[in-house]
Structures are given as C-alpha cells and as structure tokens.
Symmetry: C2
Subunit: 458 residues, 2 copies
C-alpha cells in the first residue's frame, strides 16, 4: 500500500493516506467479504468467504470443504480436479478465502452451498490439529482439552460455551446500567488480604509483600459512599489449596453493591433482575450456542423461593446446630425448589453469623442469624450476598468480637465514620454460572485458560 | 420484617416472603424516594429525598441544607428552630432522609428547593470530614487526596472524573459489540512474563513463581483464532520502578484484536471508531461531569492524521537515526496536528522494528520499519497498536533473530502453527485517556485507588 508522503517542516500538505483510511472507516475492514451467516440472503450471487478450513472430505468425483468463520459454517463443493488435488496438501485450520456462487442445497448448512469455487490461502498451510475439530464433539481428556486450548477453543461446542459467558457479561452490565449503577475498577494488588488471611496469593511488590485481591468487597462498599450503586466485573484470586471440580485459583467475579436498601431482600431482588438480564442476553446473543449445546435454559420465576437457614435444616431433617449446608443439602434444596416451585434457583437466607464475614449485618431481633443469603442454582451455590453493616460503631464491635484489630481496616472504616447508608450486594462467579448453565462436570471447562493448584499455562 | 415460615419436610406451602419480594422486584428498591435530578418534575409535591448531608449553612433565621445523592445536589430550607438546632449536632456526610415540599426558587440548584422539611437519619451522625467536600474544589495535596480517597471521591469534581471513565468503558464495549467482537477474560496469573522479563511482578503461586500479566497480548491473539474479533477490559500490571506522573503499577487496559485485516491502517480505523464511541458515551452519560469540569472534548476528525515515523523525525528536524520519539517530539506533533488538521489526535506509523516487540509485523518492502503505530492524544502517547505476525515461520525467525528460544512461547505459537489470519490490534490505557481528557497533572488523579512504587493503599 501507499506509504505517507514526506511532510515538510512547515507542513500544510494533506494527511498521509487519509482517503484510504476514510474508505476503510466507512466501509469496515471486512469490505467485500460475506459472512457464512449471511449466505442465505446471497443465493445466486458470487461471494467471497474468508475463514478456517474446518474440514475436507474427499469423495471420488468431488471434495466437500467446510469453511468456518466467526458466524458459523458453510459448505463448498469442489469438482475441479486441480483444486481437489491442491486441497489434499492443505491442512485443516488453514486460513482461506473462497470465492464462488451461492447455490441452494437443502442438505447443506442453512440450505446454501458454494459452487464453482476458487481458493486463495490467507495463511501458510496449517498443520492439521491432532484433535479433529470437525467431529461433533471433542472426545479428549480434560488435560488435553486444556493443554491445547488455543486449538480446542476453535471447536464449535467450545466456542458456544464462551459465547454464553460473553452474552452473560453483557446481560449483567446492561441490566445494571439503566438502574443508575456506576461501573468501577478497583485494584487487584492490595496491601493486606481482603477478607481473611487464608488462601491469598503473595506478590513481591517492589521488595515488600502485597496480595492479590480475593474480592473487591471493601472497595465496592467504599464506592457506595460515592455513587450509591456500583458494579465491577473483574478477576479475583484465591490460593485454593484443594483440587476440586468447582474451584479455580483465578476467576471472574460479577460484583454489585447498592445503598439505601431495607435489608438483604432488596439485594436479592436486584440479583433476580440481573439473572433475568443475563438469561435474556444469552437468548439474544447466543441462541445458536444454546441450540448447539442442547441446553435447557433455567426457570427463573418472578419470585425466587426463599427459605431461612433454620427452616432449611429442619426441612432436610438435619441437626439444627449445623453451621452450614452440606453439598447434599444444597442438592436436596435445589430439587425441592424445582419440584415445589418450578424454579432452578432457591435462596437460603439467615446463615449463622459465625460463618459469615465480619461486615455482615445480623438479622434484626436475633443476632445468631445474618441478613445474608446464598443463591443456589440447580443445587449448587452460585452467589453469596447480603446486607452489610453500615455504622462505624458496629464495625468496631464486630472486629473486636472476632479478636481482630481495626488498624488494618482503617481506610475502609473511614468510609463508615463519614456516613454510609444501609447497603448490601452480591457476587456471582461467572464460571459457576456457566458451569451450571451447561451442566459441566468440571468448572475448568468453562473458563478460557483456567488456573488451579497445578495449572499455570497456557 | 416478617421472616420465613417454617417449611415442613414435605413442604408444599408458600415461599417465604414472596409477596414482599414481588413488590420490591416490581417497584424497585428506591420505592417512595425521589432523586434530586427529578425534583423539577415534582414542583408542589411533598417528596422524600435520601442522600448525604453535603453542607449546612446556618444563618440567623434559617439553615440551608444541601443534600447530595447519586444524581446531584438539592437545597433544603430549614426554618423550624428545633430542627435548626438538631442540625447543629449532625456532621456533614451524615446519611439522611428529608421529606418536604418541592418549591420553585430560581436561586436554588435546578430552580427547586425543599421547604417545610422533616428529617430522619439513615446513619449515625457522621464525623465531619477534615476536607470540606462542599467547597467548589478540593485544595489538598496529592498525597492527602489519595490517602483519603474513600472520602475525597465523594467530591463532585472527583465523582465527575470517574463518571468520564465509566462512560468511556461503556462506549468502548458498545462500539465493538455490534461489530461482531466477542468479549474475553484472560488470566492475569501467567507462567512466564508476557512481553519482556523486565518490570514484571512475581507471585508466590503455591510455592513456585508466577507473574502478573503485563498485557493480554498473547491471549487476545490466540482468541482471534477462535472468534476473529475480540476485546477485553481488565487490569494489567507493570512493576514500573520509576516514579513519574504518567506511570502506574496497575492500570486498566482496553484491548481489542481483529483478524482478516490488510494492515495496521485497518486497526487504526477501528481505533478511530472506538474513540468516537467513547466520546459519544461521555457526551450522553457524563454530560454533567463535562460541564462541571469545564472540559473541552477533543476534536476527533473522520480522518485521524497519520505520519510515518521517518517523516515525523524529518518534520521535527530530529536526527533520522533516532530510534524513538522524545516527549517534546510528541508534544510538537500534537500541536502540529491541532494547527494543521484541527485534530487532538495524530497517529505515528512505522516505528523502527528494533523498538517494537517481536510479534510486530514489518513494513512490506522495508523491514527496518514496522506496520505499527502510536496514537498521540494532545501530544502524549495514548495507544499502541499495529499489525502482528501471523505465520508460524515468521515467529520462529523473529524470536531467533532476537536470540530468544521458542520454548517459553510454545502454546502461543501453537495458534500460529494451526492457521491464523492476518490480524492486529491495540490497547488503550484508561487512565491515560482520562488524564488527557481532563488534562490532569498526574495520572494518579484519574484512577480510583492508584498503585505505584510507594503506594499500595487504600
């Protein structure tokens, strides 16, 4: 392409390449290319497709080529002998441009195929991946799936999983923004561990210790003092020493916090709207992904069933002194919610204060219990939320009762000394959300490049 | 409020509190409250405001109260002697509810004030901050501003700065989403440093070393192989040992990467659209912030001026062998772009290959120069972008020429071995963007809780 002209020191001449840039800005960078999803509107036309050589299938008199682009798959029929033999030398995943006529064929994807094609390579011929991406499902072990993530994410079923995640992120934000929430970005490098000393990663911060934030909890509360309603989407870090199917060392937390609430039930109300927004976005943005994966999207009633922790224990026939719900309890509650209320979600409120962090607001009239909740999605904890303390004196008492000094929390407590409204919030783990949505065996299947006790790459 | 009923083991009874929850879901959690911004529509009505006691001003026969909520300020006129003396004992920043009649007064904010008010406290009386938030500007030193961030961010001028940031984040995403970009979330904990061994934070990762990602560069390229067009908004980390006004140890990077480009000019075209989208979002979401700060929003022409690196040096009268532009060169180019093209932006393309990272695509026909660019905003580097190598063999050569082994890059290179289209991308530093927008002296003023060589809290 034409490079910029030399501009004299007292330059008054035109700007280099601006007409060319103008054209690109207004026509888009894909000018001339047709996306596979748009083929049904181009029947009879000669079109150029660009994408990956997803599959070659050579028969006696013709070769079927499947081309994959960001919108889907298209079938190309090659009958020219020279092109057929040229294709024999080009591995799957080579990036190609195919120009040909869009022709109706009820047996082809979307009822269209490309005939009389010509072919150009947009990359060197690729090494055919050892894992056959064109097969309907990826029958590989989890370590292989993760080790070869740069290639395995190209499989349509893998792509579909992340499309659900991307749609959910949009749904989360676009539910909250019109309700007056302000997006925030808070630091992931912190001077002291956020919520507890355990499970925190230590960083060499210019020769002194820093820690990776386990949540944006304190910061989002501080920012309620500024904007009333805030949200953040970002990574959080847990040095989780257990190798389980539901824990990651780094995950994406969808956090919201809001002021001027009555109690945790207001928080649950917002959470319900957020989940509805995420599901709506999945339906709009990732409809094909839902179809491909054969998902049943969850039933989210207008009223999420809510049971108190003590009632849940009684209902389950458990010891009333149990401090927490066991996994089998959560599963049973999930089944009950579906059976009795047609809901894939159930909230358990009132968890014992001694099992909740110090900033949790107690239940009025009975401080053994908390104004907090867990939301179970298909019998597994998805969200923790609740009302927080908002009075400075209550923080001092709560820390003192736990034998903790206020010193490390001084800046945080400053927000409460200077006026904070009753407030609360919640955090949704993106990977758990997707894990339940697709009913994954292992949460590592739901994030792009998982991190755990053993895995730090790719 | 009413707690849940006990649910028998074979529970078929109603869900606890569902009618109450239903009401809240459908009426919102702010039921009954009026926001200060909506007061002009409520003239003559009795309304309840909730917010912070921004200022008390006691005169002989009355006290003016300014209440601050997330939408702005409202004036309340107190003539009742008992209430006036009660207000004497309540510090600024106490969270209050004020109920009174909305009455026209051309001298009050938005032409409305609240008269005949009653008052309720929603928090304990607050300690009046040492920093007077009601003054038009915060005349405090930078260390004080940052040390007391939980309070100083409540100042309207501070809030306004972050409102620009939040709007910009929305504008970034909402420009890219309709163009077929997929949002990604890539790991911040990595096994080897992303782009260079220098300036990287080391983490104790279950007893072995890990590093904080300096950029999502490799991951976003890998994901172009999956989704063609991707973006990510997230934290990046630089162990920057210099204490300057324009560097942070942690900042927010707005990354985009796209496939099927001709060259870096296509990337610049997308960048131009993104910046236009960010400015549009600022205009819509943060109009009041722009007014309050008295900002001149930048001029972004349809064609951003582009000069080649060699032409820039010549035009500046600099040594043609200079490997980089000095800060004064950048400032001069910024002035030239404004003077000659009415543009606050100018792109410099073709930077010497030896100053660019190994994945940079060279300029066709002259590999001394690169198909990359810096975008200067008001004479300061805001964005780096360009075309990347996309052939496996080119990566092997590039690494070998720099004396680097391919081993540490093996998974990354896998993506190129298996077919990658010509692609490129860019990264915008959110804090630099806001810094230039508000013409801040120090980038630390533009992020909520900055991190640098010395600062790790709040």
């Amino acid at each position: 392409m034409k490079r910029s002209q030399r501009i004299p020191s007292r330059a008054t001449t035109a700007v280099a390449g601006s007409a060319d840039l103008h054209r690109r800005l207004h026509e888009g960078t894909d000018a001339g290319r047709v996306l596979t999803a748009d083929l049904p509107q181009r029947l009879g036309e000669t079109v150029e497709l660009r994408g990956w050589l997803h599959r070659r299938r050579r028969l006696a008199a013709l070769t079927f080529v499947i081309l994959r682009d960001r919108t889907g798959l298209a079938q190309v029929v090659v009958k020219d002998a020279a092109l057929m033999s040229r294709l024999d030398g080009i591995g799957e995943e080579t990036v190609i441009s195919v120009t040909g006529r869009a022709s109706p064929n009820p047996a082809a994807p979307a009822g269209v195929e490309i005939v009389d094609p010509s072919l150009a390579l947009l990359s060197d011929p690729a090494d055919t991946p050892a894992i056959e991406l064109w097969r309907p499902s990826l029958n590989v072990s989890l370590p292989t799936l993760l080790d070869q993530a740069p290639v395995t994410w190209r499989h349509p079923r893998r792509r579909a999983i992340w499309q659900l995640a991307a749609a959910s992120l949009r749904g989360f934000r676009e539910t909250l923004l019109p309700k007056g929430y302000t997006e925030i970005s808070t630091p992931k490098l912190v001077g002291s561990s956020t919520e507890s000393g355990a499970n925190v990663f230590e960083v060499d911060y210019f020769g002194r210790p820093a820690y990776l934030a386990q949540s944006p909890q304190f910061y989002k509360q501080i920012m309620v003092g500024v904007f009333e309603r805030v949200f953040e989407v970002g990574p959080v870090f847990r040095a989780e020493p257990h190798d389980t199917v539901r824990h990651l060392a780094e995950y994406v937390s969808l956090d919201a916090e809001l002021g001027f609430i009555d109690d945790h039930r207001d928080v649950l109300g917002v959470l319900r709207e957020v989940l509805a927004g995420m599901l709506a976005a999945v339906t709009v943005d990732a409809e094909d992904a839902v179809d491909l994966l054969g998902l049943r999207l969850p039933d989210l009633p207008a009223d999420i069933p809510v049971v108190h922790f003590t009632d849940a224990l009684a209902m389950l026939g458990a010891d009333p002194d149990e401090p927490d719900l066991a996994p089998e309890h959560e599963r049973a509650l999930g089944q009950w919610a579906m059976r009795e209320h047609g809901s894939d979600f159930i909230a358990v409120e009132g968890y014992p204060m001694r099992k909740r962090p110090f900033y949790t607001s107690p239940q009025p009239g009975d401080p053994r219990w908390s104004n907090s909740f867990d939301l179970l999605f298909r019998g597994l904890e998805l969200v923790t939320g609740g009302q927080r303390l908002h009075r400075y004196a209550d923080y001092v008492t709560a820390l003192s009762e736990r034998g903790e000094p206020t010193g490390p929390y001084e800046t945080y407590l400053d927000a409460f000394r200077h006026g904070m409204p009753p407030h609360g919030g919640f955090a949704i783990g993106l990977e758990r959300w997707i894990g339940r949505l697709v009913e994954a065996d292992n949460i590592r299947q739901t994030t792009l490049f998982p991190r755990d006790l053993h895995r730090l790459s790719p």
